[in-house]
Amino acid sequence: MAKILDMPKLSPTMEEGQISAWHKKVGDAVAVDDLLAEVETDKATMEYRAFDKGTLLQILAPAGAVVKLGDPVAILGAAGEDVSALAAKAGAAPAVAEAKPAGEAKPAAPAAEAKPAAAAPAAAEAKPAAEEAKEPAAPPAPVVEAAAAEPAPVEAGRVKASPYVRKLAHERGLALRGVKGSGPNGRIIARDLESLTATAAAAPAAKSPAAPAAAPAPGELAAPEARPLSMMRKAIARRLTESKQNVPHFYLTIDVDADPLHALREQINADLAAGAEDGKALKISFNDLIVKASAIALRRVPECNAQFTPEAILVHKRVDISVAVAVAEGLVTPVVRDADTKSVIAIAHEVKELAGRARARKLRADEMANGTFSISNLGMYGIDAFAAVINPPEGAILAVGQVRREPVVKGDAVVPGRRLTMTLSCDHRVVDGAVGASFLKALRGLIERPMQILVG
């Protein structure tokens, strides 16, 4: 018996996902665990794999469609099975309203309007048919019903809203088209308007691709290029706004002698190169050494390895360091687990591997979750110093600049030297100035006498 496949929860925080690509076509056979589609979540592009076998009978959410969690994306069943009733139940054309190709909206409208009429009798007839088909060995049946009970997605045709909602919309000057109804058959009910204030702000941004198409009046400023918000961009916007608005940040900066660290790194990389057989030697970076140094410092000053909750401060017993990695659309923060117990080489390997997969957007959600401290390094971009935004719910983040060559005072002489500036952003609810300072003091000690990093 055919069943509706819905948008699964592929990251702990996702509320919707965008179908990046379908890997199966309608008519393709699907085996358990086959890759059906790739879904862009707020965190990463995730693989949507099949839980059941069958034939892909219909794709309800084409590539590019943004689909809410639990809303239908496709129908899976036996080859040749009639899915019209099921498709009607699923709402026929989910998320079309939000699908990327805006140009298609117009020509599609008459077809969409024709749908409800055709779909209604089909849905009415579907009940007995579905019941007849309920074989003893048909566990998918409840799934289908559950899916049918889900709020239907917004249709391109008539806006269904309760009379009260229409009154409120009129009073508040709200447009109901595009508002997702949570009532039966996608009916917009009063509850749906409560969240509208929040989504209203996002809506213009989502619709803006169409806006520039309207030609600007002559003599007006050229319209900016509107780039639709990716899921990642939305997540960055939401989380960092939340952080800056809610977390009382303060900043502590140190400038350390980086000559010893530089010398150590040179030595290690030379040794690694000499020991490599195929010439593809691993090179450790300043950042790898700083990750390890920070992990040791956090073990010494565990108050910096903590997070705030309204009930208590949680002081972590693990040192899991989130490493910010720039990717094409923004940044992600894969986590190096138990960095305090790993060797610099192990960390170097791990960061390299995680960053590679981050750029390919192949990180799993759990690989980006539950860090206890973050490090962001913009040294490779020539940045001397900066202050980073805390990555909630962590209590602090270390912003690392580049190793600068400059004249330094050694003894009584000015000599060529290397300096490194690091800024710690602290959540003042967790980390006070003195605590942050003692962490930085420990870190300075480790970096200026870096052998400890190797043995710590």
């Binding site: 309760s162 009379p163 009260y164 909602v165 229409r166 009154k167 949570s182 009532g183 039966p184 009910i189 009063a190 509850r191």
Partner: protein, 327 residues
């Protein structure tokens, strides 16, 4: 104020009005020497004598017709049926004489009469004796239909009914006769017809009920409060005339309504209320108005099946959750 039972409140109303107005008399099966099938008229024969407390033979059609005639010529009868089910035998008298004569006589005749009896389900009295008859009678222009839920309203409304110059049908309940409540001792305190009573205020949903179902609705509201839902419970009290103003005001606050009543759903008073609300408060509705009613079948005798057919707290909750889109 005196705490008394519902049956005592009805008796008090009748006795006070009979003291006040010598034209008022009580007639019905077993109302005199047997002291009332449900002991509502206990002591009344002794107090007022056989001229004013009349035991009738088992001929509802006959004593209803005679009483309507008495009303036409100036008396003010109270006709008690053993239950409203038996009024079916006298339906022609009620429909064609009581309800019509004032209009057909061009106002020359009035029919100041009260018909009263227990109504709707009792306990295992079978399909023929469990009817909610208010729905039949509220359909008829020319009749007034009252269905109080409390002793205080029973007394106050019955007094109003007896003083009214038109036929009033008074729906009591076997299951309410024993409930107690505070009742005013003031012989002139009347509860007006056509005025609903908000018995529990709330902002999330209006539960509209009368008679026994008011108590069921209150129980449901207590249950809903545990879920954080503030249900407003309205005791309609007067089914015709209907206080649409109070109902519309309530729904304007809550935007959702469930009508809870005994009796079948098809074309009942609940359907009438749903019509008024959708017509008069259309722009306030966030959900279709639903009804929690007796199931659309003849009442089964089997005790478990009977409890399933009668609307209870569970059915009210189910409908309330549906209009809140929580189910």
């Amino acid at each position: 104020m005196t705490v008394m039972r519902y049956r005592e409140a009805i008796r008090a109303a009748m006795m006070e009005e009979m003291e006040r107005d010598s034209r008022v008399f009580l007639v019905g099966e077993e109302v005199g020497h047997y002291q009332g099938a449900y002991k509502v008229s206990e002591g009344m024969l002794e107090r007022f004598g056989e001229k004013r407390v009349l035991d009738a033979p088992i001929t509802e059609s006959g004593f209803t017709g005679i009483s309507i005639g008495a009303a036409m010529v100036g008396l003010r009868p109270i006709v008690e049926y053993m239950t409203w089910n038996f009024s079916a035998v006298a339906f022609d008298q009620i429909l064609n004489n009581a309800a019509k004569l004032r209009q057909m006589s061009g106002g020359q005749l009035t029919v100041p009469i009260v018909f009263r009896a227990p109504n709707a389900s009792a306990k295992q009295v079978g399909s023929q004796h469990s009817h909610a008859m208010e729905h039949f009678y509220a359909h008829i222009p020319g009749l007034k239909v009252l269905a109080p839920a409390t002793p205080a309203d029973a007394k106050g409304l019955l007094k109003t009914a007896i003083r009214d110059d038109n036929p009033v049908l008074f729906m009591e309940s076997e299951t309410l006769y024993n409930i107690k409540g505070e009742v005013s001792d003031d012989p002139d305190l009347l509860v007006p017809m056509g005025k609903a009573n908000i018995v529990r205020p709330g902002k999330d949903v209006s539960i509209i009920a009368w008679s026994r179902m008011v108590h069921v609705a209150l129980e449901a509201a207590t249950e809903l409060a545990k879920e954080g839902v503030e249900a407003e419970v309205i005791d309609v009290r007067s089914l015709r005339p209907l206080d649409e103003t109070t109902l519309v005001e309530s729904v304007t606050r809550t935007h959702r309504a469930v009508v809870a009543h005994e009796g079948w759903p098809y074309g009942g008073v609940g359907a009438e209320i749903a019509d008024r609300l959708q017509r008069l408060a259309f722009d306030e509705l966030d959900a279709p108005i639903l009804r929690a009613t007796t199931l659309d079948v003849p009442m089964p005798y089997n005790a478990k099946l009977e409890q399933h057919v009668i609307p209870g707290v569970a059915r009210v909750l189910e409908n309330v959750r549906a209009v809140l889109y929580r189910s």
